[in-house]
Symmetry: C2
Subunit: 343 residues, 2 copies
Amino acid sequence: MGEEVSNKQIILKHHVTGNVKECDMELKKTTIKLNVPEGSNALLLKNLYLSCDPYMRSRMSKTEGSYIAPFTPDAPIMGIGVAKVLESGDSNFQKGDLVWGMTGWEEYSVVTTSQTFFKIHDKDVPLSYYTGILGMPGMTAYAGFYEVCSPKKGETVFVSAASGAVGQLVGQFAKMMGCYVVGSAGSKEKVDLLKSKFGFDEAFNYKEEHNLDATLKRYFPDGIDIYFENVGGKMLDAVLVNMKVHGRISACGMISQYNLEQTEGVHNLFCLITKQIRMEGFVVTDYYHLYPKYLEMIIPQIKAGKIVYVEDVAEGLESAPSALVGLFSGRNVGKQVVMVSTE
Amino acid sequence: MGEEVSNKQIILKHHVTGNVKECDMELKKTTIKLNVPEGSNALLLKNLYLSCDPYMRSRMSKTEGSYIAPFTPDAPIMGIGVAKVLESGDSNFQKGDLVWGMTGWEEYSVVTTSQTFFKIHDKDVPLSYYTGILGMPGMTAYAGFYEVCSPKKGETVFVSAASGAVGQLVGQFAKMMGCYVVGSAGSKEKVDLLKSKFGFDEAFNYKEEHNLDATLKRYFPDGIDIYFENVGGKMLDAVLVNMKVHGRISACGMISQYNLEQTEGVHNLFCLITKQIRMEGFVVTDYYHLYPKYLEMIIPQIKAGKIVYVEDVAEGLESAPSALVGLFSGRNVGKQVVMVSTE
């Protein structure tokens, strides 16, 4: 029997409608026995970094038939994290391994889904990167851009939420591909980052633009070949009328809509026909078979400083609710991570 | 110099906003010299059948930057028709040839776009079919279903505007492919036709359904693999929540929206992501290279009675405005054609 230690958790108090607030979550002090149940193939994890991701909002609603099960009230919030294996009932993992996968928002977790965890082999990069550029958001940018958008050199690319966990990478991938790329974000600081750090050709603060259609025409006088959709709503409507014939839209997220009880209507879908646009939603897990190939490409680029990644790291499990809520107002600059422990 | 004869025309009086009405068009009596201008490669055509197609509504608006130029006020309406060549300045065509292509709503037309016309080789089928099953709508159904939707045996297919020029064929193609297919239409007569004549597994009158979501769940308890989109608006919203994972939507038309000055908003696009749906707009002209292959497939099926086609034929050029307007209230049963002359 393992040692019993204290285990702080962030629990969801109740299902959420409308804007998610910090008070929808609370810190709960519990204890945990540091062992894996006899005969189980579970992993006992010490959580190091937790990822705050927009999709988590939908798990906070009590939605029937969603693509992903709602969170259980009074239980810890679940999310992707980087963790250290303290004990393993699965022979594929050993004590001391570093892993990433779906864990709990707590100090220690016992997870029974070890087969969904990825072992971390390269530790020569910040460990937190496995919640971002080397994890789910990185694969999202990679699969969404290269696989869904079928980009070609010289094409014009627009990325919304462009300084976020996924968008900052899409912009850099687009530049590597020889595309012209413009990003939108919600503050001057982010817009500066897009141009100075991530190499976007142009960037704008959507909050300061009163006519998004005119804005897009300014940056894309000949139209948009590829739209990497992270926000939905009004931006999508403005993009549709500015797409080129045979344009492609990869629908990755629609963060502007997640807190709305009634989503905004999109009015310009007829453009799909007139411009023969392909709009395709995707879920990154469909592309996880490409993960080894992706790591092989991206890790050398990171080490050579050719691809950069900006994180917004909140310290301590206590800061997690605020960090998560901040995503929806765009308070984070770069990928939002919560550091629970450094080892 | 050719003989000068009277040439009745249907002209568009002015650009249209909102519902198109018969009085937006008028019959004009003109004359025409029955010859092709010296040295030109034009065709002099006697128009036999004219096609009424929903896309024509967008040419009646004064829309800048549309995919197809607006009609010119005071000039004859342009549309697809079957015609006889009376004189040809293009060596690819001879006097007496039957052709189909973009002609004028008038008795005789001189067209300078002979390269866009198709010669009619098989006259063992009703000539009017070249405005429908053997023409643009047929190719639309063929390309939209087989090329855009990537159907597989056993999949579930939903077709809106299912008794129309395109929908009735999509349903029959889906059955040939071994799919389960349901259609929606706007009257009992059309619903009966879908089931008794075109072989749809089920059909419903959308005007009698107060909750389209519930209706679709009744016919597709396990969801929809393929939606052949002809209508847009509320139907699209209801379909989105009933699609299966990895479903496909071919956006062919959105007739419910064409007369609206402000289109309805579509609210459920987030389903594209959660269900990883591909929604793709297409324009049939992108697929005209497949036309010979299509004819080779479809003509024997027609002759063998395995594929049927229902037309709604209005007699006389005078009836064309009313026939066109009727499309938008669904007055037509089957493909709407105007017979101008039988030879």
